[in-house]
Amino acid sequence: MPGQIAPLHTKVLDADARLIEAEPYYEPLGGEIALFEAAYASQIPVLLKGPTGCGKTRFMEYMAWRLKRPLITVSCHDDLTASDLVGRYLITNNETVWIDGPLARAVRCGGICYLDEVVEARKDTTVVIHPLADDRRILPMEKRGELLQAPREFVLTMSYNPGYQSVLKGLKQSTRQRFIAIEFGYPAADLEKKIIITETGLDAQSADKLIKLAHMTRNLKGNGLDEGASTRLLVHAAKLMARGIAPRTACSGAIAEALSDDPEMLRAINELASSLF
C-alpha cells in the first residue's frame, strides 16, 4: 500500500521471567564470576562499581544465564519512587487490583533484580531495599500489609559509577554496607582488543589503534573529560569501521562526539584519532 509502512514484527519480551537463553559474550576480568557465585550461594546482595560502558550490565546478563535465573533490570531515575519498585493498586472492572512492581516480581519468581545506576534513584527509594538486602531477606509491602520472604534463588544486585557522582548523589553507608562490592575497570589492552575483535570482527591492527585512542582519551580524564572512552564506545567505533566507514569518521562519530560537546575537546580528540589512523 502506498504511503504506509508495514509494522515490523517486534518481539515482545516477557517481563516476568526473562530467562536468557543464548550465552552472552563475556570476558572475565578477574575473579568476578567466582565471587558472584559465592555471594549468590551465600545469599548476599552484590554491588557492581565501575565507569560506564565497562561491562557491568553484560556481566549481569552473563551471570543470569549462568545461574539460569530470570534477570529483572530496573533503570533508576530521580523520580523512581518506592511504589514503582514494590507495586501499586490499579483500578479495573469496578475494583482495585494490586500490580507487583519489578522488585516484588523478582522476589516472587526468585530472579535476579538488577537496579542499574542506583544513585539516580531518590534516597527514600533505596531504603525500601534495606530489609531485603540483609539477612532478613523480606520485602515489606505496606499497602497490602504483606511481608514477602525472598526464596533462596532471589538475589539483589545494583550498579553504580563512582566516577561522575555529584556531591548530591552518593550512596548512603547504610545501603552500601549491606552489599558485596565488585569493582569493574576497563579491561587490559590485550583483553580489550580480544573483546573488540570478537564483538565486531575488526582486523587486529585497527583494533590496536582504537585501543591506543581509548588510552589517550583516558589520559584526558580530569582535563576536560569526565570519562575516557569506554569499551562500549570502542565497540561502536569498531562496528562502524567493520562496515566500511573511514576510521577517522567512525572515531569522530562514535568516540569524540559521544564523549564531549566542547568544540576544543572535540577537535583535540579528532586530532588524536587522525594521528593514529
Binding site: A189, M216, E271, S274
Partner: protein, 711 residues
C-alpha cells in the same frame, strides 16, 4: 578572540585621509611620550620615520603608542621606533599580534624582555609570513594542550617562545605560524612541532648530556644543529610507529625523504639517542643540517636543568611512596630491613602506551602500586629507561619537602592542583588592548577579625517588627513536599476521588479521570553568593548599613533554607587583591559567622574583576540549579594604580561578569551609588541591578529585593 579597533583615535580619523606631516606627528608623539623624552632623545626621528607611511598605518601607530604608553611609556617609545620597520613586513593584523606578544612578555618578564620583542621584529615576521592564514598560539593552545595531554602520561605545559623547544616539562611554541598558505596547514605545523617536542621527552632525547656530546667538535653549535636533524629522523620514525596518521602528514611536508642515506639506521625501533650521537661523528664532516618547517631546536641546558630537578624530586617521592607501601604491608612504622625488599621486573607484556611494562615486586611478589606511584614509575622510566636499584630503597617521607613552595606555579592554579594556602591568579581584561593580561591579579583569601556579636543582637532588636514580618513572608515561600490530589497520573490512588467518581458513575454522571495522588516536590535548588564591598569608601554609616543589610538577608535566607555564602572584597593594586571569608557555603549561621559579619570593616580599594572571578569559581563548585552572585556595592570599581579607575576598571568588571554569566552564574548588583545609572546597566544589563538611594533603608530593602529576585 576579537581584534582591536584599528580606526584608532577619532580626533585623527575625522580629518581627511591625507598622511600627517612629520611636524604634526611629532607634536602628538611629544604629547604621549613626554615622560621618556629628553633634550637628547626627542620624537623628531620617530616622527620622520612614521611620516612616509600611509595614513592608515600612521593612525595605527599613534593609537598603539597611546595605548602602550598607558602601561609603560618606554615600551611605547620602543614600539614607535620599531613600528615603521615592522609595518613594512607585517600587515596590521599580525602587527597587532606582535604588539600583544611584546606586551605579554613585558607583563611577564619586564621591560628588558618586552622591548626585545619590539626590537626583534624580524624573528616575529619570519614565523608569521603570509598573514591571512596565520594561526596564533592562542587559537590552538587549548586544543594542543588536550592533544598532548592525551598523548602523554606526563603532564606538559605549553607556552610561547620565539624558537620552538622544550625543557622536558614545558613545550615552547612560536606565538604564531604562517608558513603555509592555508590555516589548516599552519595548524598542522603547530601540531607536528608539539608532537616532536613531546617525542623528545618521550623517546629520551635528553637522556644523555647533549652539550658534552657536541663539545668535542670544532663548531659545537653546528654539531648540535646536526644532531637535532638526526634526532628528528629518529623521532619521526618513533612517531610513525606510534602515530602513523600523523607521520604520514608530516612526510608530506618533506616528501618522505631521509636527509641522508646514512640516517636509515636511526629509523629502526631499537635506535636511541646514543645512536644519534654515534652517527653524528660519522656525518659531521659532510652532512648539512636540514630544517623542516616544523623542526624545533634543541636547548640542552634548560632541559638538563629541569630534568635534573625532576629526577631528584621523583626519586625522593618514589622512595617515600615505597616506604608507605611497606608501612601498609607491615603495619609497622619503621621497617626493620628496608633495603632489598623491592625489585623491578620487566613483565615483557606491552603496556597500553606501547613500551614494555615494569612490575613492582615486594618480597618477590608483585604489588599493585597506587595510581600516583605507577605514574611516577612511568615518568622515571621515561627519563632513565629503567628504575635503578638505588631508587628501590624505601626512605622516610622527609626528603624533598623544602622545595615544595616552588611547585606552586601560577599555571597550576588553573588545574586545581592545590586549593587552599597561598594565592590565586586571575586574568584581567585590558579594554585598550582587547586582550587578557594573563595571571595578572594575585588574590588571597583572608579571614575576618571577628567583631562584637552584640551588633547582631542590636540590629535584630532595632528591626524587630520588620524581622518578624520578614520571617512570615519567607516562610510562605519555603518549598515543601506537597501531596497533590485528584491528578490524572500519580503514584497512588486518591480514594476520596475514587469514591466521588464511583458515586458520580452510579448517578449517571460523567466519570472523572483524575483519581490519583502525586507527590510534588518543590525543592528550592538555589545557591547565593553575597559579595560585600569592603572598600575604604564604605567607612562610617554606609558600613553600618551594609552590615545590617547582611544580617537581615541572613535571617531571611535562614528561613528560606537557601544555601548561601558571604564574602567581602577589597585590596590595593593587582598584587594584593583580597577576599574576606565571612561565611562559607558549608558553614552554619552561628555565633562565629555573626561576629564576623559584625567585624566587616572598610579596607582599601575595589578591584572588582578579580573578586568576581574568584567568587564565580567558588560558586561553581556548588551544585545548584540556580546560582546567584549578589554584589552589595557603593560605587564604581576603583583601584590605587594601574589605571584601574574609570573605563579600564569598568570594562574589566564587565568582562568578569560576562565570564560569570557564561559559567551559569546570574549576577545581580545592589548599590547605593546615585550615579549608578551611568555605568551599572553597562555592567549588569538593564534589569539586573537596583539602586537603594537611601542608605538607611538598605537593611529593610535587601531582603525584599532578594524575595523578588529568587522566588
Amino acid at each position: 578572540m576579537s581584534s582591536p579597533p584599528r580606526s584608532s583615535d577619532p580626533r585623527l580619523t575625522v580629518a581627511a585621509a591625507e598622511p600627517l606631516s612629520a611636524n604634526a606627528l611629532e607634536d602628538r608623539l611629544d604629547e604621549i611620550l613626554d615622560p621618556v623624552l629628553s633634550t637628547r632623545r626627542t620624537a623628531t626621528r620617530l616622527a620622520e620615520a612614521v611620516a612616509p607611511l600611509p595614513r592608515e598605518h600612521q593612525d595605527f601607530v599613534l593609537h598603539w603608542v597611546a595605548v602602550i604608553a598607558r602601561t609603560n611609556p618606554e615600551m611605547a617609545y620602543q614600539f614607535a621606533a620599531a613600528a615603521p620597520q615592522a609595518l613594512a613586513r607585517l600587515d596590521l593584523a599580525s602587527a597587532e599580534a606582535w604588539i600583544i606578544e611584546a606586551m605579554d612578555t613585558y607583563d611577564r618578564d619586564g621591560l628588558y624582555r618586552g622591548s626585545a620583542v619590539f626590537k626583534n621584529v624580524g624573528e616575529f615576521a619570519r614565523l608569521s609570513r603570509g598573514t591571512a592564514a596565520a594561526v596564533s598560539f592562542e587559537d590552538v593552545a587549548q586544543v594542543l594542550q588536550l592533544f598532548i595531554c592525551g598523548l602523554s602520561g606526563r603532564r606538559l605545559r605549553l607556552d610561547t617562545a620565539a624558537r620552538p623547544h622544550t625543557d622536558t616539562e614545558t613545550l615552547f611554541l612560536p606565538p604564531s605560524i604562517a608558513l603555509l598558505p592555508r590555516r589548516e596547514e599552519n595548524f598542522f605545523i603547530y601540531k607536528a612541532m608539539a608532537t616532536l617536542l613531546w617525542a623528545q621527552g618521550r623517546f629520551g632525547t635528553f637522556n644523555v648530556d647533549l652539550d658534552a656530546a657536541c663539545a668535542g667538535y670544532s663548531d659545537p653549535e653546528r654539531a648540535l644543529d646536526l644532531l637535532n636533524t638526526l634526532e628528528t629522523v629518529r623521532l619521526e620514525a618513533c612517531i610513525a610507529r606510534a602515530l602513523p596518521g600523523l607521520a604520514r602528514e608530516m612526510q608530506k611536508l618533506h616528501a618522505g625523504q631521509l636527509p641522508d642515506s646514512r640516517c636509515a639506521v636511526l629509523a629502526t625501533p631499537a635506535a636511541t639517542i646514543s645512536d644519534s650521537v654515534a652517527l653524528l661523528a660519522q656525518v659531521y664532516a659532510d652532512m648539512a643540517p636540514v630544517h623542516y618547517s616544523y623542526t624545533p631546536v634543541l636547548q640542552p641546558e634548560r632541559a638538563a636543568a629541569v630534568r635534573k630537578a625532576r629526577l631528584a624530586k621523583e626519586k625522593s617521592e618514589f622512595q617515600s611512596a615505597l616506604a608507605q607501601l611497606l608501612e601498609e604491608k607491615d603495619n609497622s612504622a619503621v621497617p626493620p630491613q628496608p633495603a632489598e625488599r623491592f625489585s623491578i621486573q620487566a613483565s615483557g607484556l606491552p603496556a597500553g602506551n606501547g613500551n614494555a611494562s615494569h612490575e613492582l615486586m615486594l618480597d618477590g611478589k608483585p604489588v599493585a602500586p597506587p595510581e600516583n606511584v605507577s605514574q611516577l614509575m612511568d615518568s622515571i622510566l621515561q627519563d632513565l629507561g629503567e628504575i635503578p636499584d638505588d631508587y628501590l630503597v624505601a626512605a622516610g617521607d622527609g626528603g624533598y619537602r623544602q622545595n615544595r613552595r616552588d611547585e606552586h606555579d601560577p599555571a597550576d592554579v588553573w588545574k586545581g592542583v592545590y586549593h587552599e594556602e597561598g594565592a590565586f591568579f586571575y586574568n584581567e581584561w585590558d579594554c585598550k588592548r582587547r586582550h587578557y593580561r594573563k595571571n595578572w591579579c594575585v588574590l588571597r583569601e583572608l579571614g575576618v577579625l571577628p567583631g562584637n556579636a552584640d551588633f547582631v543582637d542590636a540590629t535584630l532588636a532595632k528591626y524587630a517588627p520588620q524581622v518578624a514580618q520578614l520571617k512570615r513572608t519567607f516562610e510562605l515561600l519555603r518549598g515543601e513536599d506537597k501531596l497533590l490530589k485528584k491528578q490524572p497520573n500519580g503514584d497512588d490512588i486518591d480514594l476520596d476521588a475514587v469514591i466521588a467518581a464511583y458515586a458520580d458513575m452510579k448517578s449517571g454522571m460523567e466519570l472523572s479521570d483524575r483519581l490519583l495522588t502525586k507527590r510534588h516536590k518543590s525543592e528550592r535548588d538555589l545557591a547565593v553568593m553575597l559579595m560585600v564591598d569592603m572598600s575604604g569608601s564604605t567607612k562610617g554609616w554606609i558600613n553600618d548599613a551594609e552590615r545590617e543589610a547582611v544580617i537581615m538577608l541572613c535571617e531571611a535566607l535562614e528561613v528560606l533554607g537557601d544555601r548561601y555564602a558571604i564574602y567581602g572584597f577589597s585590596g590595593i593594586t593587582r598584587k594584593r587583591c583580597e577576599i574576606f571569608r565571612i561565611k562559607r557555603f558549608d558553614e552554619p549561621y552561628d555565633t562565629a559567622v555573626k561576629s564576623r559579619i559584625a567585624g566587616i570593616q572598610p579596607q582599601d580599594y575595589t578591584r572588582m574583576g578579580a573578586a568576581i572571578r574568584h567568587l564565580t569559581t567558588l560558586l561553581n563548585q556548588i551544585e545548584a540549579r540556580t546560582k546567584l552572585l549578589i554584589t552589595l556595592s557603593d560605587g564604581k570599581p576603583d583601584d590605587y594604580s594601574d589605571h584601574y579607575r574609570g573605563e579600564y576598571g569598568i570594562e574589566d568588571t564587565r568582562q568578569a561578569l560576562i565570564e560569570a554569566h557564561r559559567a551559569g552564574v546570574k549576577p545581580f548588583c545592589i548599590t547605593i551609588d546615585r550615579e549608578a545609572r551611568d555605568y551599572l546597566p553597562h555592567l549588569y544589563g538593564p534589569v539586573n541591578w537596583t539602586l537603594v538611594d537611601e542608605v538607611a533603608r538598605l537593611p529593610l530593602k535587601v531582603a525584599d529585593i532578594y524575595r523578588r529576585l529568587a522566588t
